[in-house]
Amino acid sequence: MKRIQGLAAAAALSFIATLPAYAADAVKIGMITTLSGGGASLGVDIRDGFELALKQKNGMLGGVATELTVVDDARKVENAKQIATRMIKQDDVDVVTGIVWSNLAMAVVPSVTRAGKVYISPNAGPSDLAGKGCDANYFNVAWQNDNLHEAMGQYVTDKGFKNVYLMAPNYPAGKDALAGFKRYYKGAVAAEVYTKLGQVDYAAEIANLRAAKPDAVFFFLPGGMGINFVKQYAQAGLTQDVPLFGPAFSFDEGILKAVGDAAIGTFNTSQYSHDLDNAANTAFASAFVEAYGRKPSLYASQGYDAAMLLDSAIAKVGGNVKDGDAFRAALKAADFTSVRGAFKFGPNQHPVQDIYVREVVKDGEGVTNRLVGKVFTDHADAYAADCKM
């Protein structure tokens, strides 16, 4: 499959833009995601998941030839915005997808939906877009940002922990994470600590944590921050005494590979796990391993599900995606088999789904996640009521 349709048209100052050459009536999908710089592995997973689905369908979603254009946003809002504008104005794509980060989604999604294009979110689910800012053209196949934190709040309460230490970076998603956790957690909060975004060393926080004597720790430190924290936490010898809990973002397969044994014995919540026992997932997980040589992360599953959702909807409208109402209705029906099992959209077009707990264990091949239980069944988000659609 060709990722780049072609470069052409150099004006005097070598102004260049993409000039896609598509087949007649092909469905055009634009994917804006992060492939370079920090956090690139998330975007790569989403893209690989999506492309795997496309490959399995021989380049046809819903039986219609599909042109997929993937562009790197380098995690910069301005780049994402510019790519989106080009996809809308020039490439005239039918569907936009791919954005990893909430702040990029917040900046880009409204302009996409306002232009009458459908946006399928394979990851970011900021509360604004689930509540007041919801839109008929916006669908999220991953989760609302708070979901996994809420599940952990519930799980920790169920397990009888009474004094939990909370930690997150000092930025909106961090604060939302702790708020989501507290929505379902019933015990006392030992302390609420905000760390610097992108922080590298956690020695000071860990010393304070030990002194506070909590009975568990809930933390939300995505990407490299999580790797740093979990490694240093294990070095301080605390993993056995004060167990760690967090959302899957700090425990995806890529991160576990980097953290190694230090993560064993921690727990995380996720709507997906590579060892979920259903036919769709068994097929997907083994195909993914075969194609890319690594286990699928939740991001990969979300990319795959985004493609499968589109596949079902495009088939339903017979390829006529320009018929907005019919296409949206077909998407909303969500008639596809999600690799996570049961899946449907709530009134705000965000998932209503089960959320599981996974324990980090060591198996024959290394450190990985193992499903240990289900926390929520058919869990919906807290913002649906604010959505007037």
Partner: protein, 307 residues
């Protein structure tokens, strides 16, 4: 707050400072002698970490990994010096900034091509895992104590090198009277390459030390680069002693800020605001420290060489 916690946080500050010193020592030498702003110093740190992780994994021996990491960083440094930076010593700082910025992009992307976008794994060697109760009641990670020891050892070796050896004499002379050293028949080009190589190896050592504690990922160099610059600016450019003092100061101020500012803020605000305000203030603390030092002493604490 108890005395034990205070002592433990001081130790944490010390450890962070020592880590910064390993990076700052090389940077300040290169800066002081060759008048070169090397933004790519962080890239050498990253190379050190990546190679250490790969070799440790392959050989099963951390010590071999560290040596390989240092060698790789040193070699990368020398190659970059010979190919590009050598021609920039006589240029102004701006050309150096642009060129070394280009080097950062290149090394980062090559690293990603070689090792992939996902972070690499390196565990603590078994003989350094576990904790030691150096302060009664506060078990301290053995690995962090090891880093402190390595850092202090490097400090002593560097001091010996600079004070007692011929190379050190040339380094000191080169920092103050570059033309004179050249006029006296010393091969300045070779001296520069050697110094650059030493600096690169120290950066590689820092990267190797960081491996078992941190995420080994593309971009790790830039995260610590700015902090390293802060250190050598506070300490005074070209001064290894300044780099040590600056590093410890930055380490301790940053650690105290993170550890105690939220607590202090809680006496003024309600808890959740206090945590957030404290966190914001502590992320700014080292920049405030640098601004204050520079406003008070515009050339840093120990000036070995003028700007």
């Amino acid at each position: 707050m108890t005395l034990v916690l205070f002592l433990e946080q001081t130790l944490n500050g010390l450890q962070q400072g020592v880590m910064l010193f390993l990076l700052a020592a090389g940077l300040t030498l290169v800066f002081g002698i060759m008048h070169l702003i090397n933004l790519a110093h962080g890239s050498l740190y990253m190379v050190g970490a990546y190679v250490t992780a790969s070799v440790t994994l392959a050989s099963g021996n951390f010590a071999i990994g560290v040596l390989a990491g240092m060698a790789a960083a040193g070699a990368t440094g020398v190659v970059i010096e010979l190919l590009a930076l050598r021609r920039l010593y006589a240029r102004d700082h701006l050309d150096q900034v642009l060129a070394t910025f280009g080097v950062i992009l290149t090394v980062n992307e090559l690293t990603k091509i070689i090792w992939g976008p996902q972070a690499l794994f390196l565990s603590t060697p078994t003989w350094l895992s576990g904790t030691i109760e150096i302060i009664p009641g506060a078990p301290y990670p053995a690995y962090r104590l090891f880093i402190i020891a390595v850092g202090l050892l490097v400090g002593i070796v560097l001091r010996h090198l600079i004070v007692n050896t011929r190379l050190g004499m040339l380094i000191r002379a080169g920092a103050t009277h570059r033309e004179m050293v050249g006029a006296m028949g010393v091969d300045i080009d070779r001296l520069f390459t050697v110094v650059f190589g030493i600096g690169a190896m120290l950066a590689g050592l820092a990267g190797a030390m960081a491996g078992p504690m941190l995420a080994i990922e593309v971009g790790m160099g830039e995260k610590i680069l700015i902090l390293t610059f802060v250190v050598i600016i506070i300490g005074g450019i070209g001064s290894v002693r300044g780099a040590l003092v600056g590093a410890l100061l930055v380490g301790v101020v940053d650690t105290y800020g993170r550890a105690f500012l939220p607590m202090i803020m809680r006496t003024f605000f309600e808890p959740s605001t206090a945590d957030s305000v404290g966190a914001s203030l502590s992320s700014m603390s080292i920049y405030v420290l640098m601004a204050v030092v520079l406003i008070w002493r515009p050339r840093g604490l120990f000036q070995a060489y003028g700007g």
